[in-house]
């Protein structure tokens, strides 16, 4: 059953409830299985990005090590190493004993450079190539197959994004917009891939927009994609969706090139 929740909370949970199926898209992305060679690095990136974006908020308790490792699809050892690295960066605090666990700490100053340093330029380009292929194919199919009822959530998200008051909120709605667009392709695989890629690169792309204050341009690109989908213009939707990803990647590569090793 579909819905459009996403964001801060796992949902309504009362004592005695069974374990919840996490429901919101941002959470799904944050805790979806990792597919990367440097698994410790990948866990660090995923959680650090989520903290930087405010998807995980200050003081929030992370799931238990076993649960988190299971959800991310990594071993407990890998997860512990990652948590240690995050503790060293001051982004996670672990308390022992009763009421203990790992808690999120949002550093006062967030530096995009610190996040970017973990990516080689070549990796960024490759992620962009992959993401553009997925986003472009999904947009083309969405344009071919969409009905007016598929467009309603997209326009609703764009309106909400225009009214959003914080960058974290805009970012959440941005993620939701792209997942709704992918789902309009009618392809479950493309949708899953969109969710996974967003977890890998979405936060960085977003931080790069923040850096250059480029949110108006991003909003215009979103509207243009939605219009092409509405007009059932598959080729234009594909070209615009690819451009949307590649423009952001170019920006990110420029920023990365300026970061000192």
């Amino acid at each position: 059953m579909a819905g459009q929740g996403e964001g801060e909370s796992y949902g309504v949970r009362r004592p005695g409830d069974r374990v919840a199926v996490p429901m919101n898209t941002t959470r799904l992305a944050v805790f979806s299985p990792l597919d990367s060679t440097g698994r410790v690095d990948a866990v660090v990136r995923r959680l650090a990005d989520a903290i930087a974006l405010g998807l995980l908020s200050d003081g929030e308790q992370l799931p238990s090590e076993a649960e988190l490792a299971g959800r991310l699809g990594v071993s407990t050892v890998t997860l512990r190493e990652a948590l240690m690295a995050l503790r060293q960066q001051g982004m996670v605090e672990t308390r022992r004993g009763r009421g203990g666990g790992s808690f999120v700490r949002v550093p006062a100053e967030l530096d995009l450079g610190i996040h970017l340093r973990t990516f080689a330029v070549e990796e960024l380009r490759d992620l962009g190539d992959h993401y553009a292929a997925i986003a472009g194919a999904a947009a083309r199919l969405a344009a071919q197959r969409s009905l007016p009822s598929d467009l309603a959530p997209l326009w609703r998200s764009l309106a909400e994004m225009a009214d959003a008051e914080s960058s974290a909120e805009r970012r959440r709605i941005d993620g939701r917009f792209h997942i709704e667009l992918a789902a309009a392709s009618q392809s479950a695989r493309l949708t899953r891939e969109e969710i996974r890629l967003q977890a890998d690169i979405g936060p960085l792309l977003w931080l790069s927009h923040d850096e250059v204050g480029g949110h108006d341009g991003v909003a215009a690109q979103h509207r243009a994609i939605a219009e092409a989908v509405q007009q059932n213009d598959g080729e234009r939707a594909r070209a615009l969706a690819e451009r949307h990803v590649l423009d952001a990647i170019d920006l990110l590569i420029e920023l990365r090139l300026r970061v000192q090793e």
Binding site: M1, A2, G3, Q4, G5, E6, G7, E8, S9, Y10, G11, V12, R13, D17, R18, V19, A20, V21, M23, N24, T25, T26, L28, Q144, R145, S146, L147, S149, D150, A152, P153, R156, E169, R172, I179, A182, A183, S185, Q186, S187, A188, T191, R192, I195
Partner: protein, 238 residues
Amino acid sequence: MIAKSDVERSGTTEQAATRVCRVAEEMFGVLNEVRELTAARARAVRDSGRRLATADLEGLRPLLFRRLGVVLISGIGFIAAPGLLADAPWYLEWWQESPSGRPSQLLPDLDPSSSAFYDYTHWDWYAGPHAGAERTICGPYVDYLCTDEYSLTLSVPVTLDGLFIGVAAADVFVRRFEAAVLPALREIPGPAFLTNSQGRVVVSNTARWVAGSVYRGTEGFNVKPLANVPLSLVSAPA
């Protein structure tokens, strides 16, 4: 003069329509059980002089658990009209299959002040019954929030003395529905496919019109709305 092939097509189309209706009726039959039990509980609580609460809906669980995983159903439950319950303005008593084999409850964020707020009244499976549709079939669509599966949601209104109090609904994976009806579609000579009320193809016997594509009224096809089920069987001569 009527060609032999036309007679054959008409016969097999009729049989396929009957088969699809039987499958759909079975699922709507389950929804009817959920609807009746919910209404009965709501009535008993009202007659005892208090307002329905989330705890009252736990009484639906034995029925929901029995029906989950049979007659194609992968998720099932009752979705309360906003404001119905005494202790929660928004609420779903919704259960789905999980890899562990035990039913798991879906617990979306139902706090309207939260940015993650899940307003289910937007969705066709809620809006349809709320607007008075006796039977709604929503989808096929990619259910990216619950299962990541390509799914259908079937729903019916739940009423108490004619007043709408919520929706009984069930999710069905398209691949399971396909397995149940494709054998009958395959018997039809020539292209044939099922569409939802908006023209989205659900199951098809031809690659030209696969699930997810949209039939926008191409000429040469005969569109046959099914009896009491919001689906159409679209077919053309071989």
